[in-house]
């Protein structure tokens, strides 16, 4: 991580009904959002399908994916804005300085 970036942890949840290509496209959409904001993915981990603690949009499960990205702090808001606009992303969470 260079001087003008920080490491962020991004977790996003995709709908469970997405399969294969749809799911891959949805992942690509998120990765493009990061990429277009000069983010660099340093770590990626899929948690697979998890049960939701409460239903979201009548869905009870979701694909969880975690990324560690080096990102300019000023771009975080833009990344979040685009994730909000995304049809697929049910939930996301960006936190600073992941420990694990």
């Amino acid at each position: 991580m260079s001087a003008d970036t920080r490491t962020y942890e991004l977790v996003y949840v995709l709908p469970p009904e997405l399969r294969d290509l749809e799911l891959e496209n949805a992942h690509q959409e998120v990765l493009q959002v990061v990429d277009r904001n000069d983010g660099k993915i340093v770590f990626e981990n899929s948690w697979g399908i998890r049960k939701l603690a409460y239903p979201i949009d009548k869905k009870t499960e979701g694909h969880y994916t975690m990324l560690h990205i080096d990102l300019d702090p000023s771009k975080v808001a833009e990344v979040e804005r685009l994730l909000n606009l995304s049809e697929n992303v049910m939930r996301y969470l960006v936190i600073r300085d992941p420990v694990a």
Binding site: V13, L52, A53, Y54, G62, R91, L93, V99
Partner: protein
Amino acid sequence: MSDEQETKETTAANVEEPTTAVPPSAGSDDAPAAAAAEVADASASEAAPATPEPESDPEPKAEQTAEATPEAKPEPAPAATTETKAAAPATAPSDGRSARARPAPPPEPDPTTLDPRKRVPPVYRANQGPSQSRFRPRHVATDVPLEQIHYKNIEILSQFVDRQGRILSRRKTRVSAKKQRRLKTAIKQARHLAMLPYTPSHIRGRR
């Protein structure tokens, strides 16, 4: 004067009798009352020998003096009766108070000594949770290293949440302020990602 004393005397006698039969006159000043009674009886026997059984056991004497003195006693008896009366009203009210006060305390202690918890219906008490018990466990959740407090660590976070999904207070978790702060944010982050419930799922709808 004799009329007043008569009335007072009778009232005093009346007061004495209901509270406790002998003690009021005999209890506090045994000697004066007895002496007064003796004097009264003596004078009564002298002046009116017709009065039945002047010398008898002390109990009737009080009554006897009360009734007998005004009738036959010119001077000595009233003095005696004034003494007895002076003694009697002084003692009688106190006795009356004490007699009233003695029965009074028992009702008071009963409700107070009755444990308020015992009066609460058991069902309600069961819902009170651990806080009502003085001997509730100090630690509801185990202490946890700071590094492990993370929104992903649901096994740990769920320890710091009650069955309704509410974050436990520090009073219950007994965790340091720093850790409690981290727990708070971690739990809220986990909730946002639907990894922890905001509320019991049966309220939000079944899964």
